[in-house]
Symmetry: C2
C-alpha cells in the first residue's frame, strides 16, 4: 500500500499547486468570489479524479507536464458540482470535507457564482494547455463536457437522484443514477490520462471498463460508509441518505449483499487491468483501497 | 432598417434551429431537466449575441455552416446566466422575456442544474464543431470561457453588481460592472465571428473596439428603458433597478446626460467601423437600432 499512499500524497501536491496557479488569488477582484472558490477547492479533498488522470497518463507514457492542468480541471468540475449540490435547493448540506459548505460560509449567491466560474475555468484551463496538441485539447473538452452535462453526465445524474428522493426505485434506476452522477466523471478522468498519453484503442477500452467498475465500487462503498461510519470519520454528515430516504445499494440489496457486490465489482475491475500489457499495479492497489476504505 | 430586420429574423431562425438540434429533446431523460432548458432558451430572446457572431463572421468571409454552432453556444451561455441570475438568491425575478422564469415554472434545483448543463453544452458544441480547425475551436473556447468567468468575465460582473446593490458607487465602478457583466460576452460574440473568419489583426482590433462600444451602448439604453418603459413593453419587470437601489447610468448621470452619453458612444462605435475596409453597413444599422430601441 506504500506505493498508493505515495501516489495520493504526490497527486494532492501536484493538484493543489496547479489549482493555486490556475485560480485567481483572493487578492484579485472580485475578492470574495475568489475567496469562496478557494475555500471550497482547498478543503482537503482526496483529489481522487486528478489522481486517475495522473496515474493512467503515466502508465501509458505521458509526462507530468502534460497531465497536471487536466488533473486540476477535473477537480474544478468536481468541486463546482459539490458547491451546487450542497445548496439549500438541492441536498441542503452544511458540512463538506469537515468544514462549512460554501453557501454557509459565504452566501447562496456567492456559492452559485463560484460554481459557475469553476466550470468555465476548467474548460479554459484545458483550452489553454500549450503542452497538448489542439486536437487533444478538443477531445478532452468534448469528453469532459459530455461526462459532466446531460443527458449522460453528472448533472443529469444529480437530477435523476433528486427525482428519486422518497421514491421507490429499481436497481436499474439506481445504477443509472450512479453511472451518470459519479461514474461519468470518474471514467472521463481515467480516459483523459489515456487520451493525453495517446493510448491504443484496446488499452483505452480496458481503462474505460476498469474505471466504470471503479466508479461503481466507489459508489457502493460510499453508500456503505454513509450508514456504517459516524460524521466525525466521514467529514460530512453521516446517515443523510437514510434521512433523505434515498435509494442506496445497502437499502436495495441489504448490507451483506451490498458488501458482496462490492467484492464482485472489485474482481471485475482487476480483470480489465489484466488486458493491459503495462505496469498497472497502482490501479490494482487503488481498487483494493476503495474496497477497504474507512472514509 | 429593412436589412437589419431581415438579419435579426434570419439569425433567430438559424439560432433556434441550431439550438433545437443541439439541445436534448424533452422526450430524452431526464425529461423535466431538458424541458426546463428548452423553456428558458426558447423564450423568445432577441438572439443578439448569435447575431453578432453571424454578422461579423459573414463580413469577413466565413460561411454560415462555420458560424451557427458557435452562435448557438454563446446563446446557451447567455441563457444559463439569465437562469442563474433570476434565482431567489440572486436578482429574484419571476418574469423574463414576458414569461415565468425557470425556477418559478419548475423549481430552484431544476433551474440551477439547467444552467449548469447549458454551460457544459456550450463548450461541448464548440469542441465538437467539425466545420472548424482544432486550433480555432480551442481559441474560441479559451476566449468565451474568459469572457464568461472570472476575473474579467460575466460572472465576475454579476458578482460586482450584487456587491454594489444599495451601495453608492462611482462611475468607474459602474463601468467595471457592465464591462464584465454584459460587455464581455457581447465583445466575445463579435470576436468569435472574426476568429472563425480568420480576420486580420487590425480588423480584429476594430471589431473588438466596436463591440466594446456596442456593449456599453446596450447597457446605457437598457438602464434608460428600465425607467422609461412599462413591464408590458419590456417583457421583464420594469423599474426593478430603482427598487433594488442599483446604480445605473441614469441614476449616476441623470436621464438627459445618460441619453447624451448613449449618443456619444454610438458615434465612437461608428468610427471603429470606418477603420474596416469591408461592407460593415449592417453593424452600423445595429448601433442605430440599439440607440433608438424601445424594448
Amino acid at each position: 500500500m506504500v506505493g498508493l499512499e505515495k501516489l495520493f500524497a504526490e497527486c494532492r501536491e501536484v493538484t493543489d499547486k496547479a489549482l493555486d496557479e490556475l485560480i485567481p488569488l483572493s487578492e484579485t477582484e472580485p475578492k470574495k468570489l475568489h475567496e469562496a472558490i478557494r475555500w471550497s477547492i482547498f478543503a482537503g479533498g482526496k483529489r481522487f479524479r486528478p489522481m486517475l488522470v495522473l496515474a493512467v497518463g503515466r502508465i501509458f507514457g505521458a509526462e507530468d507536464k502534460q497531465l497536471w492542468r487536466t488533473a486540476a480541471a477535473v477537480e474544478m468540475i468536481h468541486t463546482y458540482s459539490l458547491i451546487h449540490d450542497d445548496l439549500p435547493a438541492m441536498d441542503d448540506d452544511d458540512l463538506r470535507r469537515g468544514r462549512q459548505t460554501c453557501h454557509v460560509k459565504f452566501d447562496e449567491a456567492t456559492a452559485i457564482l463560484a460554481g459557475d466560474c469553476l466550470q468555465a475555468l476548467a474548460f479554459q484551463t484545458i483550452a489553454e494547455d500549450e503542452s497538448l496538441a489542439h486536437s487533444v485539447r478538443v477531445k478532452l473538452i468534448s469528453e469532459i463536457a459530455r461526462a459532466e452535462g446531460t443527458p449522460l453526465g453528472m448533472v443529469a445524474g444529480q437530477y435523476f437522484d433528486l427525482e428519486a428522493e422518497g421514491q421507490s426505485i429499481s436497481i436499474q434506476q439506481l445504477e443509472r443514477i450512479h453511472h451518470s452522477k459519479t461514474g461519468a466523471m470518474i471514467t472521463v478522468s481515467a480516459q483523459a490520462g489515456a487520451i493525453i498519453a495517446n493510448a491504443s484503442a484496446s488499452d483505452f477500452q480496458a481503462i474505460t471498463d476498469y474505471s466504470v467498475k471503479l466508479g461503481l465500487l466507489f459508489q457502493i462503498t460510499d453508500d456503505l460508509l454513509d450508514i456504517t461510519q459516524p460524521t466525525e470519520v466521514l467529514g460530512k454528515t453521516a446517515g443523510k441518505d437514510l434521512v433523505a430516504e434515498k435509494a442506496t445499494y445497502p437499502s436495495l440489496y441489504g448490507l451483506e449483499e451490498a458488501q458482496k457486490l462490492a467484492e464482485k465489482v472489485h474482481a471485475e475491475a482487476c480483470q480489465e487491468l489484466d488486458k493491459i500489457e503495462k505496469d498497472t499495479e497502482i490501479l490494482r492497489l487503488l481498487v483494493d483501497f476503495i474496497l477497504h476504505r474507512k472514509a
